[in-house]
Homo-oligomer: 188 residues x 2
């Protein structure tokens, strides 16, 4: 039976404010030999699939500085100190990034963005009965376009490479599974 | 129409050998004001959904140092200098981590693990006709168990939170889309 590694020490080697790089020396449960592991500590994240009553999904199109490309995504962001919990963060991010509110919220599950090198969790929500109620309220370094798409268009973009963000594609897999388990919510 | 940001400079603030933290000052195309962005540069990754002729998927169960939990995943890893391309890396990782080879390989697409803070791409492959041909060949800091699961079990674990790795769940969404587009490959 496979065992967890034993952490021997931990120090922060770099901190940019958004994440800290931890260097952790851990010992193998099999050989007892130590190896260094490099782990980013950061806030939890949230992502929201919102659905209007006429089947539109508000999505955000923005320039991403990691990939140096534009990326079509569902709204989301970091769980902030001012958020009571992940659901509140999801409601805030949906409103700030798209101007939408929703009638009914469901958890679609939790993702580990990368359990090998990140310590955080991304909480995925479904927001039904979404409706535009206000203008966007963006951070200074955020510039984005809201685009409405229907689910078959989203699937086609995932198939063709027009949507590549792993957290977004994983969120739609969780949505598929939720729909299968809750068919009555999606009767049209 | 939304525009890309203009990068003004770039320096490496931290390098652990597995990734480099780049600090990039970029100017908004709207306000021309500069902001710092923190981007991790690392190798491309590969992940493989392998399928035996009797419908089993070899998966790897291992301790992950980011989440400090065990994680059930599909085999994969980094594209190495010794790999000619991503497909070769996928074939190598499948063999090393599970001891399986496969008859027929298909690309399921490319994921951006996190286009906000990572510069890399994860290449997803489907390996049909997978067959155990050898023992595992693991790195010194790798300890894992190979577990065989059928697709309905995998879906159930994703639904219940037993599988949470975002890249793994995204890979199964790409697999669903591929199956819909290529039904003849999956006739039983």
């Amino acid at each position: 039976m496979i065992q967890p590694w034993k952490q021997k020490n931990d120090h922060i080697a770099y901190d940019c404010g958004f994440f800290q790089v931890h260097v952790q020396q851990s010992a193998s449960p099999v050989t007892d030999k130590e190896h260094p592991f490099y782990v980013l500590h950061t806030w939890d994240w949230v992502n929201v699939i919102a659905l209007t009553d006429d089947g539109k999904i508000p999505m955000v199109y923005q320039y991403r500085h990691g990939s140096k490309e534009f990326s079509l995504e569902i709204p989301g962001g970091a769980v902030d100190k001012k958020d009571g919990d992940a659901l509140e963060a999801a409601q805030r991010e949906l409103l700030e990034e798209t101007g939408y509110e929703a009638r009914e919220w469901h958890s679609l599950g939790k993702l580990k963005p990368n359990p090998a090198i990140l310590n955080n969790t991304c909480h995925i929500y479904l927001a039904l009965g979404a409706k535009k109620v206000s203008d966007l309220d963006l951070d200074e370094a955020e510039e984005l376009e809201v685009r409405l798409h229907e689910l078959p268009e989203v699937k086609q973009m995932m198939r063709k490479g027009g949507i590549q963000h792993a957290l977004v594609i994983a969120a739609f897999e969780l949505f598929d599974l939720f729909q299968e388990s809750n068919p009555r919510l999606f009767k049209s």
